[in-house]
Symmetry: C2
Subunit: 214 residues, 2 copies
């Protein structure tokens, strides 16, 4: 193969066009596909006469986001390597993207030389992880482990109760909404208070909003 075929999936049209131009400057690479979202990309892939070897995938996109698209791609075209290329530096998002099958995770503020290095590494070694990603993953381990373990031990019905608790409804009204006796709701509250280590409904709401449980 005389060049490496690359696909770009990014709804930031201006950026993706500019990126395509930059890549095309090096004859070693060729942008064979450039789509604005996962939906378009998947559609275009079935009609493509040349499959990309590497896909540069944004995460926040309309119709089909980067995580879903990567998941789809990993199942059907495992030989195509996905590199996440995004501004998203949220730990949870990074994890989801890597779980979906991304072989690399690049932030858009990186140096261009590192960018080409990433493409080479993904092709030759199978993956490319920057120190940044490593740091982030480490951070999750030491910082968010507690809260995520707390959240994971919540039962479905308890999570539902938490959502209702993040409102101006009284417990009696919440019981109605959940089709339960007020006393059962009392029980949920007691259990959730203990699990989340809070002392009042306000503490519960504060926790829920901090960790997106609302």
């Amino acid at each position: 193969m005389e060049y490496i075929p690359i696909a770009i999936v990014d709804d930031h049209t201006l950026m993706s066009k500019a990126l395509e131009n930059m890549i095309m400057e090096d004859a070693k690479y060729k942008v064979v596909m450039n789509n604005a979202n996962g939906e378009d990309f998947i559609q275009a892939l079935s009609n493509a006469n040349e499959l990309p070897q590497v896909v540069l995938m944004d995460i926040n996109m309309p119709y089909k986001n980067g995580i879903e698209t990567t998941q789809w791609l990993s199942e059907r075209f495992p030989e195509i390597k996905v590199i996440a290329l995004t501004m998203e530096d949220d730990e949870q998002v990074i994890i989801k993207m890597l779980k979906a099958g991304a072989k690399g995770y690049l932030l858009k503020d990186m140096q261009p030389y590192l960018f080409f290095q990433a493409i080479e590494n993904v092709i030759n070694k199978g993956s490319f992880y920057t120190d940044f990603v490593t740091q982030k993953l480490l951070k999750i381990k030491i910082e968010d482990m507690k809260s995520s373990s707390i959240i994971s031990e919540l039962k479905e019905r308890e999570k539902e109760f938490i959502k209702w608790a993040c409102s101006e409804l009284t417990y009696k009204e919440i019981a109605d909404k959940m089709c339960l006796s007020p006393k059962t709701v009392d029980g949920y509250r007691d259990a959730v208070f203990i699990k989340l280590e809070v002392k009042s409904r306000v503490g519960l709401v504060l926790f829920a909003l901090k960790y997106g449980l609302e």
Copy 2:
């Protein structure tokens, strides 16, 4: 002048380099400066032998962000037009940026042809506002006007009470913290409930967190 000198200020190095390449393809434009943050840009500007006519300014940057940098630039070099080029679509941020003196506001997902049109408009007509920005500003007028007027009628002591209410402290404990009688705190609560149009402390906390009062 045989070309339009342009400056790029963006910490997303990969993107800004790619953007620079794209702009350079048209001999009508020339990227004379490319800096990763406001601090660097201001520094470089004082040593520059050619001033840019248009500055493409990102907002979220380390050291000196786009809003501060635009403010600085508007005061000292009012002839240099700033176009915000960012992913930030938060209403408040748009307002701040326009207040700081930006003549245009572009999102990075725009079409390239519109991008060049924006540069031309800013130079020839002085400004360029997309429908998007207009929509957003309109939205603020009709949606956020209420909440901001609500917030503005809160007294200092009431705002302080709200901060304390966003905790697991009881009102008695809050009274201690604020060096007031519990009954006075009762009064603050009643007043705040009416102003914020909430029915319970949970509603108060929800409002405070939504509008950053906590």
